[in-house]
Amino acid sequence: MGRILTVDDINVYYGSIHAIKGISFYVDEGEIVTLIGANGAGKSTTLNTISGLLRSKTGDIHFLDESIAKASAHSIVSKGLSMVPEGRRIFLRLTVEENLEMGAYTRPKSEIKESMDQAFELFPRLLERRKQIAGTLSGGEQQMLAMARAMMAHPKLIMLDEPSMGLAPIFVDHIFDIIKSLHKNGATILLVEQNAQAALSVASRAYVLETGSIVKTGSGKELMNDPVIKKAYLGA
């Protein structure tokens, strides 16, 4: 198993606010790694920095064999790193099918059809709605579309930012089932979640973020049984 992503001592600022304070972690091929933490701990900021939408002042980010710390967001996608952003951010005025085509923007036209069929196999609900404007989908369907859209790029690593946010409990279970089946199919996943219970239950390894720093790390199981984590994040 090779190392896919190495984040080495990144510091991110919003103006004078020091949002990420020197964090380092890694993701190996085939893992589900999760970052858990409270609102404002810096989880989304970390993902946005990896995907190139934000910049770190220090350190480095390695993806596969190269540094992506200074690469533009759109070029990072073509290297094989996709993100499902927080709040889904699907294109509400485009159809379901057009959203998926945008997901495959970096890929040759000849491969799109096959990937789209795979996406519809994984999310049959989207097949029924392929010609519909995405804004008419329900919240759960929009989350499925956001995930399917990211998969269209055939990423080597997929980052999911709060996929369960704002969804009804039944959809949360469904989304986590999908995460598990993606993983079974060989996907490597970096998952950010406030729903620590669900995230830890699927994670190979986890990092706990508090106000911009990593305060704890371990396997999903270890952290689930950690008394401090239980008290702070699992409501036990």
Binding site: I90, M102, K109
Partner: protein, 293 residues
């Protein structure tokens, strides 16, 4: 006003309306993608008109070649303005961008005055003659203008709705951040939008000369503002809206002229703008701003 005059005026209105629509498209597309009211857009038409004028008057090029040259020059100019003046302000407040656009507009107008002189340059019409249908006289210029505009707008509609670049333009105009996460290059997509808008302005400048065969350094400002009103009337950011708005303003002006109120033409157009802003600020086909969850 009898029926035949009315028909003739409506055809006149469609002719000027076509030009407004082509120019309005440029405003609307640019606004849709970077939320900028590009007030230099009207002046690009002025530059296009001078290119046509000098190509024909000084270099005796055939009109079609002159028009193609104008389209190419407008496209290059539009993209150059975007790269030099607007790209560095991508994350600046929208007001800075607007003021820059006004500055570019002055630069182009005064630059044209310096280069070409402040006087009007008149040329002989590119499209002459006409025919009559019953008692309605129709000029070939009107036919050419309407046909060319309809072709250009159809091509644009296909481009925006069916091609990969067109879909990317719509994606960027809806959510720049998410578009980047798809691997879409903002720089390329935004430049492409300016290129298309400016090319349409180039076509618009040639068609404008079919109706009023003279160029002056400030010709773009009134034309630009009328087209801007058309874009707002149709719903700024909306492509079919810009087309409808352009034709509506053109026909409205023609009807005002037909009622022997030509002097009030501009006033009526701006009155319509005020009414639209008061009662339906999003315009005829304007999009409601989507709440982001």
């Amino acid at each position: 006003m009898d029926f035949y005059t009315l028909i003739a005026q409506i055809i006149n209105g469609l002719q000027t309306g076509s030009v407004y629509a082509l120019v309005a498209l440029g405003y609307s597309m640019v606004y849709g993608i970077i939320m900028l009211l590009n007030f230099a857009h009207g002046d690009i038409i002025m530059v296009g008109a001078y290119v046509v004028y000098y190509s024909i008057a000084s270099f005796a090029l055939p009109p079609l070649l002159a028009v193609i040259l104008a389209v190419i020059m407008c496209t290059i100019l539009g993209v150059a303005i975007e790269k030099v003046a607007y790209t560095p302000l991508r994350s600046a407040p929208r007001l800075s961008l607007l003021i820059t656009a006004i500055g570019i507009s002055f630069l182009l107008e005064n630059g044209a005055q310096l280069l070409f002189g402040a006087d009007q340059k008149s040329m002989s019409p590119m499209v002459k003659g006409g025919f009559s249908m019953g008692s309605v006289g129709i000029s070939y210029a009107a036919v050419v203008t309407i046909v060319v505009s309809v072709i250009a707008m159809t091509a644009l509609t296909i481009l925006v709705n069916k091609t990969k670049m067109g879909k990317a333009m719509r994606a960027v105009s809806e959510d720049m951040g998410a578009a980047q996460l798809m691997g879409i290059s903002l720089n390329r997509t935004i430049s492409f939008t300016f290129a298309i808008g400016s090319a349409l302005a180039g076509i618009g400048s040639a068609l404008y000369l079919c109706a009023y065969p003279q160029s002056s350094p400030t010709m773009g400002s009134m034309l630009g503002i009328k087209a801007f009103v058309a874009a707002v009337l149709g719903g700024i950011g909306s492509i079919p809206g810009a087309m409808i708005g352009g034709f509506a303003i053109g026909i409205l002006e023609a009807l005002v002229a037909a009622a022997h109120l030509s002097m009030w033409k501009d006033a009526v157009v701006f009155f319509v703008l005020i009414i639209v802003l008061l009662f339906k600020p999003t315009g005829i086909l304007g999009k409601k701003i989507q709440e982001k969850v």
